[in-house]
Amino acid sequence: MDYAFIFSSLIKIAALLAVVLGIMNYAVYAERRISALIQDRLGPNRVGPAGLFQPIADAAKFLLKEDFTPAHVNTFYYWLAPCLAMIPAITTLAVVPFGSSLFGVPMVIADINVGVLFVFAIASLGVYGIVIAGWSSNSKYPFLGGVRSSSQMISYELSLGLAVIPVFLLVGQLRLTEVVRYQIENGWLIAPFVGDWGNLQKWLLAIPMMISFVVFTIAIFAETNRLPFDLPEAETELVGGYHTEYGSMKFGLFFLGEYVAMITGSAIIVTLFLGGWHFPGVPDGSHGWGWGLLNIFIFFSKIAGLLFVFIWVRWTLPRFRYDQLMRLGWVFFFEIALVNIFIAAIIIAYLPSK
């Protein structure tokens, strides 16, 4: 084996994990601050300057709380579930290109040719954590949460998968680095302001891409169990849903797993529709390591922007009723995505690309 490859991969994994876990902690802080500001409050502002050390305090609290296992649970699966909720969310990041290159090393951990399918496959495993948590808690509310979650995730995975097909019809590859490369040459898929301005096909395609983007984003909301689709944990009806019986760090893993899933979801949206690490006018990492770092920074800034939208939507919209959720998934988004594929295919087939 190539030791340089293994070494650089390990460094990339460690660095990405550190950055993502850091963002995750501050996403919790941002959620609390932004929700407070939206509701005309101030939010946590005591720990450190402007409350910036709040995540550390939160983590300490999670770790120091009593790790209690209720007597009526199925212990093995009860302990397994939080891990299963966290692992898929983090694993998905392996195929996302988070930067151009740094010292000649491409900034993606595993550039496999089925990139987006890998993302869907691993993300679909995320439902096990929730289902097993609901089942092993051996209690009614968590069980209802688990059942809701499994049907919701399966329903929205369809829209998720169908929404990205126009992207790959256009790019012609499932590899995520190729999607980014295409967007560098032709502009972001939903806003193609780079490259050939006289290209009619590109401008027409921006319409189905926009629809794809909206459907995909909404499906990601549903997949990550965020409001307005947070029925698996709906506090007002299911106490806490699947994590009702959990406490301390085991609850923390569910809680933070949701944020990691948000980050990975945003990373996929950024990569597919918003140009990945590319920003018009910024050269890639082959022009010097400073630019490489800037590319990584751009990528994470875009993720931060999307996370803000996630939080903003959460504190604006009320929760859907369960039948509305299912109807929305199966009757609207599924059909919209199908018709959208059809439109995109027609544009790609019958309009000249040059």
């Binding site: 939206i38 005309d40 409050r41 101030l42 939507v313 504190w315 604006t316 919209l317």
Partner: protein, 176 residues
């Protein structure tokens, strides 16, 4: 009888939901912006800023014992407050003035007077029932302590909170 609630008929624009969602997002964004740039001020930084100056006259805070102008603890240990107290937070052990004391005509005084502030519900019945105008509800509300024992106000603490009450009826002075 079952009541049928007629659902409002939505027109096409309302059924799209998107305009409503977007206007909702605009509203929350406006709140966010106003709050971010400090244009709205609703909350108060509690330990630094306090509402004390706005406290109404009739505010019911911690109950306390008072002294009068002559320096006597006004309580005569009649135990009416102990009797009326709904959560039974008050405990009084009466004592008798020795014969030569300057207040000997009052006969009794509270040897111990404890109010358990964990139990107290700030109802003000003790103040209302007191025939001697000896117990008043003051405006102290931040009653804290690290142990249960800390939360019991003894006589010294109660007198410290209560202080001296001017202009109360001094009926014992007239009594021979």
């Amino acid at each position: 009888m079952a009541i049928t609630v007629s659902r409002p008929k939505l027109n096409f624009r309302e059924r799209l939901y998107l305009p409503a969602i977007l206007s909702g997002m605009a509203i929350t964004m406006r709140h966010f912006k106003n709050m971010l740039f400090g244009r709205t001020k609703v909350t108060m930084q509690y330990p630094e800023e306090k509402w004390d100056s706005h406290m109404p006259e009739h505010y019911r805070g911690a109950p306390a014992l008072v002294r009068d102008d002559t320096g006597r603890v006004r309580c005569v240990a009649c135990q009416l407050c102990e009797f009326i107290c709904p959560p039974r937070a008050i405990k009084i052990i009466p004592g008798e003035f020795p014969a030569g004391d300057k207040f000997a005509k009052v006969e009794k005084f509270p040897h111990e007077f404890d109010i358990d502030m964990i139990r107290c519900i700030y109802c003000g019945l003790c103040e209302e029932v007191c025939p001697e105008q000896a117990i008043y509800l003051r405006k102290d509300y931040a009653i804290t302590g690290f142990t249960r024992a800390d939360m019991v106000h003894n006589k010294e603490k109660l007198l410290e909170i209560g202080g001296v009450m001017h202009g109360v009826v001094l009926k014992w002075n007239e009594k021979k």
